[in-house]
Amino acid sequence: MRRAVLAAAVLLACASLVAAQAGKELKSRVETRAVRVVPMIDSSLPGFGLQFADLPPGPAKDTAEYACLTCHSADVLRQQRLSERQWAAAVTKMNGWGADVPEAKRDELIAYLVKNFGPDNDRFKPVVTRPIGR
């Protein structure tokens, strides 16, 4: 795997050198500018803004997906460490902003959020991504 990554990195470096050279020749006819040297990156990392978290299993998973994921990915839920009172307030706020939480499902949803993303939730890790546009 390590060898394949290295080979891919070398190939990428060669390709960008060739592309940079072609760009340099093209540009030098019309204008004189410093050629940007694009620094290498760890190409095994996922692209920026391309990976979203899932919600954990549970009775209110469907309700949470339907109500919450229209506007934001599950990552922002997974990183919360909120008490029942805080989750109830958050659900009320989001309800007012258009999140569709049927009254009959509200308590179940709050219980699901508290169980998974309560004050002792320490499982969240950000996604390590490549730099923007790379």
Binding site: S73, D75, Q80, Q86, G98, A99, V127, I132
Partner: protein
Amino acid sequence: MNRRSLLAGAAAASGAALFARFGRLVGADIPAARRRLLQVNGYPVDAETPLDVLTTYLTPNDLFFVRHHWVPLFPDPERWKLTIDGDVSRPVELTIADLKKLPEASVTSVLQCAENGRGHFKPYIPGVQWSDGAVGNARWTGARVKDVLAKAGLKRGVKHLHTLGSDKPPLRVPPFHRSLDIEKALEDGVIAYEMNGEPLPEEHGAPARLVVPGWSGNHWMKWLVRLAPRPAAQKGFYMDVSYRFPKKPGAPGVVFTPEEMAPVTELPVKSSITTYPERTKAGAPAAVAGFAFSGAGEIAKVEISVDDGATWKAAALGQDHDRFAWRLWSHTFTPHAPGKVRLLARATDSRGGVQPREAVWNQNGYFHSGWQAVEIEVDA
């Protein structure tokens, strides 16, 4: 030396400086293995810069933190227009070409999200749980707000500049309508179309965003489409509930009323540690480094403590500095005995503001500026 050679020399010097700042050298010494972002939300995308990346005076554009409220539709630069209306003599619409005809202005400034460090507050606070990397330092270039507003002519009695970007909230989420003190906007504000010498990237508000040096990121409207000077401040969720900070500190966990708070504006003095060894040997010098900034003015000093703040030693300040920019600092620390060392940094600004041990707890989790601590294991 005649006038022409002096001019040529000045041009060459500024060209070299420009190359040094905006050419291949912006953040070029950040190694490949560290070139990464920490994405805390997939959509809308929110991502912070790991502290070990923030080791250069200017933060490279592709490693600069990103904060989006909603999934934005990036404006088409060809069709983009900035409308200036409200209490003005003649409402105007400016294209990007119109903006570029105005005198060019540049400012090097820290951009910090008001929420930076929210994840450190206890009791925990809802929202994006930022660690310490929703901050960066860049050279912003564009037209002065003063020159742009002069095209429209301000009426008497205007005190606030209302601002609007093109990103639209989903469902019934309130719009990100904002306003700021017009004096600040006229004095320091820039409508930037370049970041570190490159066209402003889409993620950072292309084709143009507001730059409010020294003030928190919520004032720096991205994808700017409208400016409206008015006698009164904007109203709504993002003015009256959000982006407010306690006028006086309270007890952690005790919620403040809107009247007990004022809008977040000037960045409090803060330092962060970006470089330190996790492990070292007793008697061996260890390099520690970081950055410090303050919305109130330049950084006067940064100090290091290894005895929980009982005594402090001054760090060396980096050469590069600008009024609203951050200042890099470095320090060599030699541990004398094996064990665990808890190293702290605190900054003081030119107005005398000293970074506090503890940040002021507030229900929105803004302006976390307490002392950062790192742990260093010292072997015999």
